[in-house]
């Protein structure tokens, strides 16, 4: 018997329901308003009154309207067929909705339940299995999608039978397993999981030990993101957060990419809808859309579902991770999610923390970031969820609660600076404030030693020092004047600029420069460092700035030129020639 209730009060999208039976925290319910049923989630219970947040507009709702409680939390539906789909925050398939507008109470299936999949068994009768053990696989796009023992099945089971290779619908039974008491369970290709809980079906969660290549020099070379790691990109509006995120989602070396558009602009999602089916993944030759799942709750969609969207995205990420895949989950922007929490907390009349955000904001954020990670699966394989979130700090002030809380939780910090954006130095990742904790990991150091070159991390630090010294020299020049400092200061300043212009800046809208593979990054970076190792002799500061400006120009042409093309080497020769011609000390 389901618990039911009646509406007692309405404050915007918070509805107070007088329930006639047991109600659970975070339980899902449906609020009836005329003929439409709107999904809602319990967020507070006081006596018989359940406070529910409605994932829709409460316009026209009346006191005494009926509410039905579902007895479970918000769940994601996990099965083959998720790739390439476009969902809203509650996993409704947006493409299946009729009409131009999203009408209230619209519900669409996240999957095609009629489609048949070519199933291949991996397990056999007698195998000992537990939650997330692989029973079989189907080919979903180019991913070998594993059919697993549902995550909610705790304890140990023995496989009784597995279906033969053949075509099955997702709801067909593909295996039967028995628990220790001999109770048998039919397993299909579909399982459900409550999105707010982390999937913990793995044996261990080691420290990240590999780098996730993104093709963005300022990240890969200077502050690499680890596979299974976490990072965040705070930046004021107009600093290029979204452009950077889109670049990473196109180029990142991941098997599955989940883009959560959380409370941001609809046109940005439209860009992905329009471009991704056309663009090709440089590594596999497949269309980008084939490896992408979009969870889209734009800023004008219901606020409560905005909060759900990041959890839905993360849960789908964890599902694919359990198949031994490299997953990248990106959320733009986690500030909107925090604001959704603030709106709720405000309507519940909770005592506010800083800037009226809820007191437990920091805990909620770190709890969420901790769901990312590299994991060792029960069968010895590894899988990973790398999480990259953007933060939109109010007023561009990095001391606000969301940025501060996220800084505690994430290991990479890519601070976008207004100053760099103003002078069109894109990506506007601040080379001095930003950091990647992974550079300090011995695992990552030895990985880079092998993947790129011995002692690569030392080279990275050398470059950072040059940029830092360049900035200091610039400060001195600004205080004392061009003539007031020795020419050496100018040289130091320009060496910093050289790294900035050639390595850190990158044209995300140029077909060639947009994506810079690691091999090319290594070559360009070492070429730039070689130049920096010279002690040049200049007559005056103007000669110095002229020399470096011309050099930067050549380097940039090189960045625009096709890798290893004739033109590329021509510019390289010109650079070497120019460096040799210039008198040295």
């Amino acid at each position: 018997m389901k618990t039911t209730g009646l509406v007692k009060g309405i404050i915007s999208n918070i509805v107070i329901v007088n329930a006639d039976g047991a109600v659970g925290q975070n339980e899902i319910c449906f609020v009836h308003c005329g003929d439409t049923k709107m999904m809602a989630e319990v967020i507070k219970v006081v006596g018989d009154d359940a406070y529910v947040q409605v994932y829709d507009s409460t316009r026209g709702l009346k006191v005494g309207d009926k509410v039905e409680f579902e007895g479970h939390m918000l769940e994601a539906t996990l099965a083959p067929g998720l790739l390439s789909q476009n969902y809203d925050g509650l996993q409704n398939d947006l493409a299946k909705m009729d009409g131009l507008f999203i009408e209230r109470g619209s519900v669409t299936e996240p999957l095609d339940f009629e489609k048949k999949w070519a199933f291949k068994p991996l397990a056999k009768a007698g195998d000992k299995v537990s939650a997330a053990s692989w029973l079989g696989e189907v080919q979903e796009q180019w991913v070998a999608h594993k059919i697993m023992v549902p995550f909610i099945m705790t304890g140990n089971y023995t496989v009784k039978s597995v279906a033969e290779a053949g075509e099955y619908k997702v709801t067909d039974t593909i295996a039967v397993v028995a628990d220790v008491d001999g109770n048998e369970y039919n397993i299909t290709m579909v399982q459900k999981w409550p999105v707010k809980q982390a999937v913990r079906c793995y044996t261990e969660k080691p420290r990240p030990s590999r780098v996730m290549e993104t093709g963005v020099r300022a990240i890969d070379t200077f502050n690499p993101l680890a596979e299974g790691g976490t990072g965040f990109i705070p930046g004021p509006f107009g600093a290029g957060k979204t452009v950077l995120q889109h670049a990473i989602s196109k180029q990142a070396d991941a098997d599955v990419i989940i883009i959560v558009a959380c409370g941001e602009r609809a046109n940005e999602v439209v860009e992905i809808f329009a471009e991704f089916p056309e663009l090709t993944d440089p590594r596999t030759g497949h269309k980008l859309m084939e490896r992408t799942i979009i969870i889209c709750n734009t800023s004008n969609m219901p606020v409560a579902a905005r909060e759900a969207s990041v959890y839905t995205g993360m849960t789908i990420g964890e599902y694919y991770r359990s198949m031994g895949l490299k997953v990248l989950v990106m959320a733009d922007s986690t500030s909107r999610w925090a604001q959704a929490l603030r709106e709720m907390s405000n309507r519940l009349e909770e005592l506010p923390g800083q800037d009226a955000f809820p007191m437990d904001l920091s805990a909620i954020i770190s709890n969420f970031y901790s769901r990312a990670g590299l994991v060792k699966l029960t069968n010895g394989e590894t899988g990973s969820v790398t999480f990259l979130g953007t933060v939109s700090p109010a007023g561009g002030n990095l001391k606000e609660p969301v940025t501060e809380s996220t800084k505690k939780a994430a290991r990479c910090f890519y601070a976008l600076s207004q100053g760099r954006a103003d002078s069109k130095r894109y990506p506007a990742i601040d080379p001095i404030d930003s950091y990647s904790k992974y550079l300090e990991y011995p695992e990552i150091r030895s990985y880079l030693d092998e993947k790129i070159e011995k002692d690569w991390v030392d080279l990275v630090y050398e470059g950072k020092t040059i940029v830092q010294r360049g900035k200091e020299a610039n400060d001195q020049i600004n205080i004392l004047g061009d003539d007031g400092v020795p020419v050496d200061y100018h040289e130091r300043f320009w060496k910093g600029e050289l790294i900035d212009f050639v390595i850190l800046q990158q044209d995300a809208f140029d077909d060639i420069d947009a994506n810079c593979p690691l091999e090319r990054q290594k070559m360009m970076y070492e070429l730039v460092l070689d130049v920096c190792h010279n002690d040049f002799e200049f007559d005056d500061f103007e000669a110095c700035s002229h020399f470096f400006k011309s050099l930067i120009n050549l380097f940039r042409q090189m960045n625009y030129a096709e890798w290893n093309s004739e033109k590329f080497f021509d510019y390289k020769a010109q650079i070497e020639n120019m460096v040799n011609q210039q008198p040295h000390k």
Partner: protein
């Protein structure tokens, strides 16, 4: 908003604040309209039998025994082609005593367009102003505000943009517009012979501030009628959104909500997004382009209103007085059009993106030189040239009184490059230099 026979009349109000009244009533729907002592009000909170209403015109003069009549429906606007050429108040009633519009009554603030059904904006909207077309190109379906200090001529610039933009319909939503500015818009549109393309919803400073809350939804409901039903290209002008947000703050304050940054309601972001996100490129070819004004206090963009706006809109246009040339310019540093990448170099000449960036970079060099000069340092030859370039750039391209075609803008920029700089200093792709450099 006539009273209907079956409606129940309440005559006992329990609480009256400056903007809200609370009474005991039953069978009332959330967001529903009501008339309180002859004034229009909307349900904002229901707690058991206690219903709180926000009275748009303010509660002055209301008595505890004033008559309360519930309408049983949320605010609606009657839409039809007859809207064109008409001026309305915030409730959608004709101003100047004109006749009522007959047509289908639609709820304002309706549902959102499914993002999957949207089309990518791709049509350039030319304004003739180089500060916009060259540096911050606007695209149909975009939403972009002017950030301006109250003393700047933003309404005049906006009227110019609207008239040059070749839209099928222009919908003006005026919030807290001074009567003078209202008459200015009316006159400009009339002189341009464009009145039949204009629909206006106006709340002037003479009207109660809370009424403003209805204006954007009214304007956008009309816009959706023309764009969705008729497939027209609609341009919506909203001025001034800061006054709209102030009205939101008044209401939330009266409802005892905990304020967040700058005394604004915690839901400011969602409230503004609901309006701005109505900008859309539709599959039927129709579009809603939204140009708004957000006035700043002392140029402060970190204030909650411009800050939240900036995160919602697709860029912002910043007006600034340039002391070097004595003109109002579109600030190239702080202005941005996020959608320009969809058209520049594609719908415009190939050199557009690089020329635009080079101009701004060189202008930044000039700004640095100016700082040096102000700090009493000697200028290098390059600095001198950069400063001269900046002066010409500001006068010939950035000033808001410029009205030329985009090709001309690009040619002007190349002329300035070759006048003041060498090819290396301009640092543009070699192929483009070969093709466009003015010897």
């Amino acid at each position: 908003m006539t009273t209907r026979a079956f409606q129940k009349v309440y005559t006992k109000i329990d609480n009256i604040t400056k903007a809200t009244v609370t009474l005991k009533a039953s069978g009332v729907g959330n967001d529903e309209l009501a008339t309180v002592g002859g004034k229009l009000a909307q349900v904002v909170k229901i707690m058991g039998e206690n219903v709180t209403l926000q009275v748009f015109a303010g509660t002055e003069g209301l008595k505890t025994d004033s008559e309360v009549v519930f309408h049983g429906e949320p605010p609606k606007l009657k839409v039809s082609d007859n809207l064109a050429g008409r001026f309305f108040n915030a409730y959608g009633e004709p101003l100047e005593g004109g006749e009522q519009i007959e047509g289908e009554a639609r709820e304002i603030g309706g549902p959102t367009v499914n993002p999957f059904k949207r089309k990518q904006p791709s049509e350039l909207i030319a304004t003739g102003i180089a500060g916009i077309d060259l540096n911050n190109t606007i695209v149909s379906g975009q939403k972009i505000p002017f950030f301006a200090d109250p003393d700047q001529p933003y309404n005049a610039v906006m009227a110019n943009v609207a008239l040059r933009a070749k839209a099928d319909k222009i919908i003006l939503g005026g919030m807290g517009l001074t009567n003078d500015d209202f008459l200015y818009f009316k006159q400009v549109f009339e002189n341009a012979g464009a009145l039949d393309r204009i629909v206006s919803f106006v709340n002037t400073t003479e009207n109660p501030p809370v009424e403003r809350l209805l204006v954007p939804d009214m304007a956008l409901t009309a816009a959706e009628y023309f764009a969705v039903d008729k497939g027209e290209k609609v341009l919506v002008l909203l001025t001034d959104m800061t006054l709209y947000a102030d009205a939101l703050a008044i209401v939330s304050n009266r409802m005892d909500q905990i304020p967040s940054k700058d005394s604004m309601p915690g839901s400011l972001y969602s409230d503004l997004a609901k309006i701005y996100e109505k900008a859309v490129q539709l599959p039927n070819g129709g579009s809603i382009t939204l140009i708004a004004v957000t006035t700043l206090s002392g140029g402060d963009i970190t204030h909650a209103i411009p800050d939240n706006t900036g995160y919602i809109t697709e860029g912002q246009l910043f007006l600034r007085n340039d002391s070097d040339t004595g003109k109002v310019i579109v600030d190239p540093f702080r202005s941005l059009s996020r959608l320009k990448q969809l058209v520049i170099g594609k719908k415009t000449r190939e050199d557009h993106p690089q020329v635009m960036n080079a101009c701004v970079r060189l202008y930044a060099d000039a700004a640095n030189a100016k700082t040096k000069l102000e700090n009493g340092f000697d200028l290098s030859d390059y600095d001198e040239r950069a400063l001269k370039f900046a002066h010409d750039y500001s006068e010939k391209l950035l000033a808001i009184d410029v009205n030329i075609e985009i090709e001309q803008m690009l040619d002007t920029a190349w002329t300035l490059f070759s006048k003041y700089f060498t090819r290396e200093e301009v640092a543009i792709k070699a192929e483009l230099i070969e093709k466009y450099w003015k010897a």
